[in-house]
């Protein structure tokens, strides 16, 4: 169906600036992203690295359709996100996007199983439960399906979050510092799991991280500083 099946995500001269209401009428405009051009191919894994405040999380939220760019165009699976309202973007997310967050963002009142079921249910899958059980098994939590997040360790919580991200077989997965809250051993395990599943499902992966090791597992690395891409090789992670 796709005319250019290889490009799943494209940013054209995307900028983001916010107006900070300072003193009375003296509003100032703060530029967070300078014009960014980016193409992500289907099945590709891309790491965006950069120091805090470099704009990488902003870029991620634009690409995922969580926010709108100030100028420029963003196409996700050929959907012009920059023209879509919130409801339409929600719809795109439900159909094509998965997320993994630094702080896991599991719903504390629901069990691991129910957390994983959520995206499949939102998509309207009737066998959400079965799929979720399989996913939890895959991340090694088959015996903890009825546990609440509070009863799980950080690593286990992130595994639940990974299962949740992959259950709806998203075309593209955005991960925001997926190992940022974990110790290095657990982080390793999680990143291995992430790439394993990514490979299995042929998902496009865009991750934002400080972690060079994690970034190096990606096929491509882009470094951000002051709201734009810089030479990727020169980057030295400040918070290794």
């Amino acid at each position: 169906m796709n005319i250019q099946p290889k490009i799943i995500l494209e940013c054209r001269s995307v900028t983001k600036s916010v107006v900070t209401s300072g003193h009375k009428k003296g509003d100032t405009t703060l530029t967070i992203l300078n014009p960014i051009d980016l193409q992500v191919k289907s099945g590709e894994s891309l790491a965006i690295i950069g120091a805090s405040g470099s704009g990488k999380t902003t870029l991620l939220s634009l690409m995922a359709g969580l926010d709108l760019p100030s100028t420029g165009e963003i196409y996700l699976k050929e959907n012009p996100l920059h023209q879509f309202d919130e409801e339409q973007r929600s719809n795109v997310r439900a159909q094509h996007v998965g997320f993994i967050f630094q702080s896991f963002l599991l719903i504390n009142s629901l069990t691991a199983l129910e957390n994983v079921m959520l995206p499949a249910e939102l998509k309207g899958d009737s066998d959400a439960r079965e799929q979720a059980l399989i996913m939890l098994d895959k991340v090694g939590l088959g015996d903890r399906v009825d546990h609440y997040p509070g009863m799980l360790s950080g690593g286990e919580q992130q595994r639940v979050a990974i299962a949740r991200a992959f259950i709806s077989k998203p075309d593209i997965l955005f991960a925001d510092e997926p190992t940022g809250n974990l110790d290095s051993n657990t982080g390793d395990y999680i990143s291995r799991l992430l790439f394993e599943l990514n490979e299995q499902q042929g998902t496009t992966l865009v991750l934002v991280t400080h972690d060079n090791q994690l970034a190096n597992r990606c096929q491509r690395q882009l470094t951000m500083a002051a709201g734009q891409f810089v030479e990727s090789q020169n980057y030295v992670a400040e918070a290794g």
Binding site: S61, V92, I107, S109, L118, L122, S168
Partner: protein, 834 residues
């Protein structure tokens, strides 16, 4: 079921089980339970009180007229399923052998009395039992009549042109006139006998009374029907319209119950508002995650609408159950005091309680729901900010309107609603300003003080905004509790003052000039407390400033209260006195100077107002064949509820001394002294004794009931108040958890943190207590003047209580809630939060 329904129910089930909805549910449950039990309870009390006190008028309603009323009116009553009895009241001479006496005759149909007991000692059996009207051809009489006419039970007396057998002695008459000026002892006869006496002639002074009793609704619909038809010479009234001490106590207790219920509602509303805000904060991350996964706004709205509906239905149901149990427990406690006939089983409490739940849950959901639905998916990466567009005052509008509607629905009293809403709005306004300044002021104090205090103050400042919200809810809670307590105590004091332990229980009337000193001596010798002896001269007001008062006379005649204070159209009981009687206050002019010998008169202010008499007006009285004219030099406010002789007109000494007078006094005769008293009075058969012990006892019983009710309600309201405090503390727990973790990590000692937390809450509670006291004083002023028409008083002792209790209670609740956190090891704390 659609997916949003499944997810919503799943979420609700889990959260309920995990106790995450406890506070919000508890707040709604408490609102519903308080209102349900309170309304139920007060309806019970009201109907108990009314059924008890309706015996004071021997029915539920009375239609009084100077002429027979249209038969159609009575037929209407019959159609309305009302019980009916008829009374004819008139004065007539009674003859027996050579003796004669003016008696007050009551002719009654056989249904009389409809309420209360007519106790008669029977001739045949000698037993005292509850009776309806006497048989044809017989009469019942007051014991004093037997003595004065020197007749025995079973002998006959002559009334008009007919003879009647005295078949019994009246021991207790349910609707006995509480007048010390009753004309002559009571005779009760059968209505069917009236005609043959031939007393009732055209032009006779006769009062027709039609008594009605029945179901509340029937009575009320009949009342609505008949009220517009009532003419000038007629009155339709119930127990409450009687100007009796009882009526006032009843009215006030009803208002108090209403006030208490409203305070309960307000407190619950504050609790729900606090809890619903917390509900929003807790669910925001959830919404963001849902949205990031592609859930639409519409989806979220449906999901949360169902979630909140489940929560409300659950809480309202539990609230009704809890309320019912509370009510049963309370009824168990006081059922001994309630007559069995008084069980209330209407739907009103249920309706009010459910509306409370629905309105509260509905209105307080609007703002958090809107915020939840508006939560941006971006929050998953950006975090949550609490900023919501629009005017924050406007956002509170739905809740505000709901509370207003609820209060009005519950109390049906717009003044009271405004007082309470007004004072709450003032609280919020004043606190916004004052809260910040006080806490800021604390900075200086804190920095120099010990470490814990320093940390406590620093904490308070850092969270100035949240603390202001806390301060407001604490203050409102404490203020409402204080209002409740103060008004309760004032009311009880007021009642107690009206009916002190040794309130006069006997009146002596018709004491003549020769007897007066002897009576005085006797009373003194026996150490009986007495009001002074007041001379009484009967006279008629004929002119004001030389204007004849004919017209006003006839109006006043109709206005005369059935309590028996003689209106001005008839002869008045005039007295003279040099001292201002207790319970009288001169509101205009000056009381007589002892040295001033000019004839002058002091007049009761309400009568003066009605007759348009001003200070300095010249009043003309006709006493016997003499006419005297004298100026008004003072207007008096008279407490007609006081159990003592009260007068419209008091003359200066000397004016009336040449006229023949009888004397009246009221005194307290202890039970033990009663036989002695009787012996003494036996020597003076012309002196009439009016014993009001029974009446006073009944009043005391009722006041005991009401006081009990009030205690119970106070307890409920305190519970509601505590909930507000707990909910508020809970709301700040999560943030505290983080903070404690940080402070722990930085090496703060457990004891330091403990003391700082405790102090923070104590200071917050103390400040709230102080502000609450100030605002309470203002609110109570309005409650006292507008609602209870009481004298205004200050309550500084409660200021201290407000501050101490506020500090102690808030400190305790805060400390206990934090203790769990403080007892965690720092490792656990840090792992949980960072």
């Amino acid at each position: 079921m659609p997916m949003w329904g499944t997810q919503s129910l799943r979420l609700f089930r889990h959260e309920l089980r995990r106790g995450e909805l406890t506070i919000i549910c508890f707040a709604i449950i408490l609102a519903v339970a308080t209102v349900f039990s309170l309304t139920n309870f007060s309806e019970h009390i009201k109907s108990a009180i009314i059924s008890e006190s309706n015996s004071f008028i021997a029915s539920d309603r009375i239609l009084q007229s100077s002429r027979p009323v249209d038969q159609a009116w009575l037929q209407q009553a019959q159609q309305a399923n009302l019980d009916k009895a008829e009374l004819l009241l008139f004065s007539s001479m009674v003859f027996a052998k050579e003796e004669m006496l003016l008696a007050s005759v009551k002719a009654a149909t056989i249904e009389y009395p409809l309420r209360g007991e007519l106790l008669v000692t029977d001739l045949a059996s000698g037993e005292t039992k509850s009776q309806k009207a006497p048989n044809i051809g017989t009469v019942w009489v007051e014991r004093s009549l037997l003595n004065k006419l020197n007749v025995q039970l079973g002998e006959s007396i002559e009334l008009g042109v007919a003879n009647f057998t005295v078949a019994g002695v009246i021991e207790k008459e349910p609707d006995a006139s509480f007048s010390v000026f009753t004309q002559g002892p009571r005779v009760i006869m059968n209505m069917a006998d009236v005609e043959q006496t031939q007393i009732v002639q055209p032009g006779s002074r006769i009062t027709y009374r039609y008594l009605f009793a029945g179901d509340k609704q029937d009575i009320e619909s009949y009342e609505t029907w008949i009220k517009p038809l009532i003419q000038d010479n007629q009155r339709f009234y119930d127990i409450k319209s009687r100007q009796s001490p009882l009526a006032r106590a009843l009215e006030r207790s009803e208002k108090f119950l209403s006030l208490a219920g409203m305070l309960g509602i307000l407190l619950a509303a504050v609790a729900i508002s606090v809890a619903s805000n917390r509900y929003k904060q807790r669910h925001q991350p959830m919404v963001a995650v849902f949205k990031s996964m592609g859930a639409s706004k519409n989806y979220i709205a449906k999901l949360y609408l169902l979630h909140w509906t489940c929560l409300s239905v659950f809480s309202i149901t539990v609230g009704l159950l809890v309320g019912y149990v509370l009510h049963i427990v309370a009824m168990n406690f006081i059922s001994d005091y309630l007559p069995n006939s008084a069980m209330y089983d209407g739907m009103y409490p249920l309706i009010v309680a459910i509306s409370t739940g629905v309105l509260c849950a509905g209105a307080f959901a609007i703002t958090p729901m809107r915020a939840l639905i508006a939560t941006s998916a971006l929050a998953v990466v950006r975090g949550f900010d609490d900023v919501m567009g629009g005017n924050p005052w406007l956002r509170q509008l739905p809740s505000f309107l709901a509370v207003f509607a609820l209060l009005l629905l519950f109390s049906k009293d717009i003044t009271l609603t405004f007082i309470l809403i007004g004072s709450s709005v003032v609280v919020v306004g004043v606190l916004m300003v004052l809260g910040y300044s006080l806490i800021r002021l604390g900075r200086g104090v804190g920095s120099g003080a010990g470490k814990s205090l320093h940390l406590a103050i620093a904490n308070l400042q850092r969270r100035a905004k949240q603390n202001n919200v806390q301060l407001i809810s604490f203050t409102i809670a404490i203020m409402l509790l204080l209002i409740m307590l103060v008004v309760r105590n004032d009311l009880l004091d007021d009642w107690q003052a009206q009916l002190p332990e040794n309130a006069p229980n006997q009146f002596l009337v018709n004491v003549n000039k020769q007897q007066a000193p002897k009576v005085e001596a006797f009373l003194q010798a026996n150490g009986m407390k007495t009001t002074e002896l007041y001379p009484i001269v009967r006279g008629r007001l004929t002119a004001i400033n030389e204007d004849k008062v004919g017209k006003q006379v006839s109006k006043e005649e109709e206005d005369k209260s059935d309590q028996g204070r003689r209106g001005i159209g008839r002869e008045l009981n005039l007295t003279w006195h040099d001292k201002l009687p207790t319970e009288n206050i001169v509101v205009e002019g000056k009381w007589f100077e002892p040295s001033d010998l000019t004839p002058q008169v002091s007049i009761e202010e309400k009568l003066a107002d009605r007759l348009d008499i001003k200070l300095g007006d010249e009043l003309t009285f006709q006493i016997g064949s003499e006419v005297i004219t004298l100026p008004v030099t003072s207007l008096r406010e008279v407490n007609w509820q006081s159990m003592q002789p009260n007068f419209y007109m008091i003359f200066s000494k000397g004016v009336l001394s040449d006229f023949p007078a009888t004397y009246i006094t009221a005194m307290y005769v202890p039970m033990l002294n009663k036989p002695q008293m009787q012996q003494f009075l036996a020597q003076y058969p012309t002196i009439s004794v009016i014993d009001v012990d029974a009446m006073i006892n009944q009043l005391r019983t009722i006041i005991t009931q009401v006081s009990l009710a009030i205690e119970f309600i106070l307890a409920l309201v305190v519970l509601a108040g505590s909930l507000v405090l707990i909910a508020q503390v809970q709301a700040s727990m999560e943030e505290r958890e983080r903070e404690l973790a940080i402070l722990r990590t930085l090496g703060a000692k457990g004891s330091l943190l403990r003391n700082a937390t405790l102090l923070e809450f104590v200071v917050l509670g103390g400040i709230s207590g102080f502000l609450a006291s100030v605002i309470m004083e203002v609110a109570v002023y309005f409650v006292q003047t507008e609602l209870f028409k009481m004298t205004v008083s200050w309550h500084f002792e409660y200021w201290l209580l407000g501050m101490a209790a506020g500090g102690a209670f808030v400190g305790l609740v805060g400390f206990l809630s934090c203790r769990r956190l403080l007892n965690l090891t720092s490792v656990t704390l840090i792992r949980r939060t960072l």
